[in-house]
């Protein structure tokens, strides 16, 4: 795989493949998103759009291929997720097993010593793993065990997302929802919060301030203390976007943001999407079924069918592509 980097791309997915068991959901898709653009992913139901989307968001592990974000490889072959926390404790665990074995075998002194060693070995492992998890994981990553990313790491890198079926934190207030979105941009740790250090106080104040701004940015000022589950549908969609924006993404992934909306709401949402790009300079990847939205707002459209990329280009090019028409309407419609 060539590692030539293109500085104009925020996301560069190279021959991405995702299999579920024997089923290939996404097959060798190349896909790029330039900085500051709005790119849409369309395709019939079951084309693999959401799977592809979830691979980018770090929810699914890649079966094959590579994804570069900001010129850096962030997702490659999967890491063994179960191994990571175990890895933290490999040394203490081995010592513990030896200690128990020695005790069972009746070698009391060695057992006691090993037991003590276990306790001593836990301490540095824990301290490092908990206080500097990122550093620790990166250090272990050098050994080649962990290469892929998970959703939370993708957010830290600058990818925010919304969900097709809204997944707000229903019992939290609107303000809290947005503040959860800021999680990865806040730094207060356990001690700061428990001891209520200045740093924590300042950060919380700033966070509440920012959260209010995000809420009014999506046009929901005044709803800050409402429980998210009590919001009307359209507002829930907007809150999802506010929550995603609060993580200060470079790339925002929107999964069918206008699903289930009436024309007026759809127009407002389309306006919001365009505004996010214009005001905030956020690059947007959009999955959408509503062709009016897609054609109106996108710079570029990619079409997936049966997990494969069948067309790519400007909205007008894609609209005229016979393969696309065939995928949507069936064979015959294109030739007719």
């Amino acid at each position: 795989m060539s590692s030539e980097q293109r500085p104009d791309l925020v996301l560069d997915a190279r021959s991405v493949t995702k299999r579920f068991g024997g089923l290939v959901a996404v097959r060798s898709v190349d896909f790029t998103i330039p900085f500051g653009s709005i790119v849409s992913l369309i395709g019939p139901n079951g084309a693999g759009k959401t799977t592809f989307f979830n691979v980018i968001a770090g929810v699914y592990e890649l079966s094959d291929g590579e994804i570069l974000f900001n010129g850096e490889t962030v997702i490659a072959r999967p890491r063994r997720t179960w191994a990571e926390p175990i890895y933290w404790f490999v040394v203490p665990t081995i010592l513990l097993i030896l200690a128990v074995a020695a005790l069972l075998a009746g070698i009391g002194i060695i057992g006691h010593l090993l037991f003590l060693a276990t306790l001593l070995a836990i301490i540095p492992a824990l301290l490092v793993a908990l206080t500097r998890p990122r550093w620790y994981v990166r250090m272990i990553g050098r050994t080649g065990i962990f290469r892929s990313s998970r959703p939370n790491e993708m957010v830290s890198l600058g990818i925010g997302r919304t969900f097709q079926n809204i997944r707000l934190f229903g019992n939290m207030s609107v303000l809290e929802n947005v503040m959860v979105g800021m999680h990865s941009r806040m730094h207060a740790n356990l001690l700061d919060a428990a001891l209520r250090l200045d740093r924590h106080k300042r950060e919380e104040e700033a966070a509440v301030n920012d959260a209010r701004k995000w809420i009014s940015y999506v046009g929901m000022a005044g709803y800050e203390n409402e429980a998210a589950r009590n919001l009307p549908y359209g507002y829930q969609r907007r809150l999802e976007i506010a929550r995603a924006l609060a993580s200060e993404p470079k790339l925002l992934l929107l999964d069918e943001p206008t699903a289930g909306m009436n024309p007026v709401e759809t127009r407002e949402m389309t306006g919001l999407i365009a505004r996010v790009r214009k005001d905030l300079g956020v690059t947007i990847l959009l999955i959408e079924h509503d062709m009016e939205v897609v054609m109106g707002v996108s710079d570029r459209v990619t079409v997936l069918d049966h997990g494969e990329k069948i067309a790519e280009g400007s909205p007008d090019e894609v609209r005229a592509n016979p393969q696309v028409i065939e995928a949507y309407l069936g064979r015959g419609a294109a030739s007719a």
Binding site: F20, T81, F169, G170, G181
Partner: protein, 409 residues
């Protein structure tokens, strides 16, 4: 906007980041004001510390024992209050059902036994053992949690239940290390008790223990209640509500859950150290599953998620169980009711010992509470909302990260 890729996480510091651009687009909002909870906590606990010993001098409490008896009982209740607020972090805030909580209590106790008894010959002062016990318990919490916290909630419950059984079993069976069934005896008692003008620590003087546990609880309270409204507390609630969404908002779900587990375990460790020093003995039978379940019942009945409610619930339940049932025995026994037979079961209310019915009452209380008032006696606002949600919304809370329900094939 820009064609320049940057490395590392964007903090919005160097060039006009998204937050600055937002500020340009929007007018500033109102400022956030931090509440001063700590003062309230200190004042409340000072008041409790003064009022409780005074109240028991008044009828009807004065009829049930001397002031020293009561104060000793309060010190014991304090152990369960501490356990309950620790478990509340795990169950109430992070939503992880831990059924083996007594294991960490046991680990704390045995840590004290190793650190301050003739058994090992070490005599580390109680005050140093407190943080050590908390730390060792937290380490074991993380050791257990690290591989298992990825599991679905109810699997986690079983694994913790198993762990809760393994730990006492190890303490029982690894007898070279733990002295087996007999346990470790003659543990050191805390010293420098004259500090508070309450006399020496000892079996006959409960006051120093009472003051100590009150102090420990107050500190734990202050630290824990601050967490509730912090970045970490929000992350716990978010994970409880929807783990995938939480991860997609940048929360490292494993580390966050581990922290809840470790904090809960360390609180149990504190309780263990304290309890071992008070009893001056540790043995495996002090830590069987009934302890875990009792504490869970306290958390549930008190009101999951509300630290004050949980503490009050633990205190009330402990006192009911240690005093209330005893008094009920005396009361019913004095009525002189006849005995009657029901097949294999003989019921004789006059000689009935209500202490034996403790777990029946817990069981009934748990079932009825879940059916009638699932949010507990003193509910937290958010938990109440959650437990009374509509059926179709209830399904959403439990989705595994690896098996998100939006696979589209």
């Amino acid at each position: 906007m820009t064609g320049h890729p940057t490395t590392g996480p964007a903090t919005g510091g160097t060039k006009p980041g998204i937050r600055q651009r937002l500020s340009r687009a929007m007018s500033p909002g109102t400022a956030f004001s931090a509440r001063h909870q700590s003062l309230t906590t200190v004042v409340t606990f000072a008041a409790i510390g003064i009022l409780l010993p005074v109240i028991v001098l008044l009828p009807p409490f004065s009829g049930f024992g001397t002031q020293n008896d009561w104060v000793g009982g309060f010190a014991d209740a304090g152990i369960f209050v501490l356990l309950a607020i620790g478990l509340n972090v795990v169950v109430g805030w992070a939503g992880l059902l831990d059924l083996g909580y007594a294991a960490f209590f046991a680990i704390g106790s045995y840590t004290y036994a190793y650190g301050a008894s003739p058994f090992t010959g070490l005599h580390i002062p109680f005050w140093f053992m407190l943080p050590i016990g908390a730390f060792v318990a937290a380490s074991f919490g993380i050791m257990l949690g690290a591989p298992t916290l990825r599991l679905r909630g109810d699997y986690l419950a079983i694994v913790t239940l198993g762990f809760g059984e393994i730990v006492p079993a190890v303490f029982l069976n690894a007898s070279t290390l733990t002295n087996g069934t007999n346990g470790i005896v003659g543990l050191d008692q805390p010293s420098f008790g004259r500090l508070f003008g309450v006399g020496d620590f000892g079996f006959t003087n409960p006051w120093p223990y009472f003051v100590t546990i009150l102090g420990i609880i107050a500190v734990a309270f202050m630290l824990l209640s601050r967490l509730e409204n912090s970045r970490l507390g929000r992350a716990w609630v978010a994970i409880r509500e929807d783990e995938l969404a939480a991860a997609s908002m940048g929360i490292n779900t494993v580390t966050t859950k581990l922290l809840a587990f470790a904090i809960g375990a360390s609180t149990a460790g504190l309780a263990g150290v304290y309890s071992a020093s008070k009893l001056s003995i540790v043995s495996p039978d002090q830590f069987n599953f009934t302890v875990s379940f009792t504490v869970l019942a306290m958390v549930v009945l008190g009101g999951m998620g509300n630290i004050w409610g949980v503490a009050a619930g633990a205190f009330l339940i402990f006192e009911l169980q240690s005093q209330g049932l005893k008094q009920l025995n005396t009361f019913i026994g004095g009525l002189g009711l006849p005995a009657f037979n029901l097949g294999p079961i003989t019921v004789d209310l006059a000689t009935i010992n209500f202490l034996n019915y403790q777990y029946l009452l817990y069981g009934l209380a748990l079932v009825l509470m879940m059916l009638l008032r699932p949010e507990g006696l003193f509910p937290s606002r958010r938990r109440r909302r959650e437990l009374h949600e509509l059926p179709d919304e209830a399904e959403r809370g439990n989705v595994e990260l690896s098996e998100a329900d939006e696979v589209e094939l």
